[in-house]
Amino acid sequence: MKSNNKIWWAISISIGVAAILGLALVVLFWHQSIQQNRPILQEIFARYGHTIVVIGLALIAGLGFILARVFRTAILPMNQLPEEVELIHSVNPAHRIHIKGAYGLMQLVEKINAGAEQYEKMEKSVFDRVQIAKAELEEEKNILAAIMAELPEAVMVCNKDGMIILYNSQAKRYFGEKSNTLQANHPPDVVNDTAADQKGQAHLGIGRSIFGIINENMIRHALGEIRTRLERNEEDVTSAFVVTDRANRLLKAEAAPILNPEKEFSGFIVIFNDITQGLRLEARAEFLLKSFQQRIRHSVASIKSAVEIIQTYPEIDPSREHQLKEIIHTESKSLEQLIQRDSKETFKQTRNQWPLVPVSIPELLEGLQKKANQRLGIHLKIEPCIGRCRVKIDTYAMTLVLLFVLERICAETGEHQFACRFSEDEDFVFLDFSWKGTPVKIDKFRQWESMQLNFMKEEMPLHLKEVLDHHNAEIWPYVDRQDQKKSCLRLYMPTYRPQEQESVRHAAILPASRPEFYDFDLFHQPGQSPDLDKRLLKDLSYTVFDTETTGLDPSGGDAIVSIGALRIVNEHILSEESFDQLVNPQRDIPMSATKIHGIDHAMIKSQPTIDGVLPAFFKYTEETIIVAHNAAFDMRMLQTYEKKTGIRFVNPVLDTLLLSAIVHPAQEDQTLSSIARRLGVSVIDRHTAMGDAMMTAKIFIKMIPLLEKKGIQTLGEAREASKKTYYARMTF
């Protein structure tokens, strides 16, 4: 209930009670008076009754006036005083109390304001010192940012739960949107966004999960490898794999752990290198080399055989001899051409681009056995190993290869029982998978080789053969000659022999004290929980947004003309990752609306329609809590497009209007500008979607500590309190 209403209720009740008491006194007096005196009393009432009533009413009015004055000058200001004082010492030290009231109260207010003056001065001095320290910090941060930006590799730093806490511009190039901050004057690359969305890739951003950008299974596999290596105290503690970016470039990804001073796993760094071109060159060079060798072998074989015949059979028929000499001549010429071609061909020197790491076969098979059983219901019996059997492979890709092949054998033959035996010779490790039943024909296997490598939602953008080629590996089906009923599949992989000390990437160990130029607070965030309601407000990620529209009636056909949004992570506004987009509403914009937000038809005619904008905005809001001022209106606006676009915003919502009513229930005005002034937030670009979103974001951050003081710390508590406020009943 509003404070004014409270006063009037209190006054009315007081007057009512006084009137009832007066009446009761009259009745009591009447009954107690002597019978004979009653005519006299009646006479007095008859003569002075109206005067008595007037005096009584005047007394009641006087009483009401005094009560109202007491409320206005003492009780009401006393109620407002704690809120005002709290404003000063919590969010806005420049705020001064301007309450009119009783003399004593005014004295108190004066003292409080004087104290606030002192407090502001002190805080300013602290603030100045903090600013100087911040500036120094910022400088160091910029140096690091500049170094990071200049790196040819893309870098992402994540906490142990996979939340991105740092990335560089190269990473943004590979995994970010075409235009991260969608500018109002440039329509977004909708096709690109849609393609990325279809690929299921989420937006890259601080506080977002890396699993939305890179297949979660890949990352989990890499982290599993890293943990195993750390447990074994191996020198190389990294894990490498190959991923694709938004443009389908092949990137070599190297994940290295970050350890805290106690050497516990606290996060990881992923470094990406574009290897698309390198792999292409590598494959081309290998192909040329192979065909070159085979051509030489063939020609030399023909020449050698012909020469040997001429030497061994001197009495050879002259026509046959001529034929053989002709062969020698033709093949010699062919060799000559080959040598000339070789000098023209550019055999570019390429190192092996695919990230391969040494691994033992039992280690590989252990993982395969588990996955094949869990996901395909295959029982894989592993026979003991002869020799050390170490190979250099991408374990994720090779496991995928084997699962892909086993899945197809199962489908082809219906077999689920496989035996696996492995052995090695000087150069190769052989891995034999055998089963009782129908063999797989070479022809069939070739078809599999030309298929894109995918296994249940896990996939690589390459064919099976290409992945095998990058490993110098081959798979071949055959039938056991001793036991014709036994069908086999053999995987050949080059044996790994460490030649020289290879350069290894070591784990990064965080210093005991806080690093100087980065905010790594996110390392200490609690793990992501599905139960968002239990999480602290200050720990959550938010999308603060605002819309500008053609009018105020969403259900009556009014439409969005602009969306502005910002993200808040760890109580910081990520202004670099904003979303600012004009929308063509495909209808007229009334002059009354243009007067408010300044957007007219000319500005939106070349802009995308809501169908093109909403999918990108939906992705932008993923994994965040939505915040808006008077959210009921903006959410209703988004809701009107549900049918048309199929997009439904299901994120939890917080409304700054309701939150303000919770923290300052005594304040009458809960408009965005008033709240901003109260909390010391500057009012800029009012009535533009982006300007209002920015203001709402700043207000929201200032409200978090105020809510905490009211005992509202979690999302669930904030939502529950919002429900109870007066404004929650407002509907559009």
Binding site: Q293, S305, Q323, I327, I442, E474, Y492
Partner: protein, 124 residues
């Protein structure tokens, strides 16, 4: 009876010396230029030994070998891979598919003659 040898290679410059060599050593020869042609001849002529190249147009030498070995009637036909594919993995692959010998180009004539003689004299 003169043993029959099928030479399967699409390069005539190697077929001619091989054919001459085999005939000089008392074998009768047949020539096929592709995998399909080879399978047809195997079916019709039932050769005792096949000198088989791997890189052939259409069905390649590995597949010809696989088909021969999976057919019980032809299972005892001797197969020598004679190929420019000289990597260890190719040799291992050829042998696992059931070849009796794997000779890489370039070879010496004597090496071929010895291998052919040995395989034809061996009990099946």
């Amino acid at each position: 009876m003169t043993p029959k040898i099928l030479i399967v290679d699409d390069e005539s410059n190697i077929v001619i010396p091989l054919q001459f060599l085999m005939e000089q050593n008392g074998y009768s020869t047949l020539v096929a230029r592709s995998g399909e042609e080879a399978l047809e001849m195997i079916s019709k002529e039932r050769p005792d030994l096949i000198l088989l190249d791997i890189m052939l147009p259409g069905v390649d030498g590995f597949e010809v070998c696989e088909i021969v070995r999976l057919n019980p009637k032809w299972r005892n036909t001797r197969i020598i891979f004679l190929t420019a594919k000289g990597r260890d993995v190719d040799i291992a692959k050829g042998m696992v598919l059931g070849a009796d010998e794997y000779i890489t180009k370039p070879f010496s004539n004597q090496q071929i003659i010895d291998a052919v003689k040995r395989l034809l004299e061996e009990p099946e």
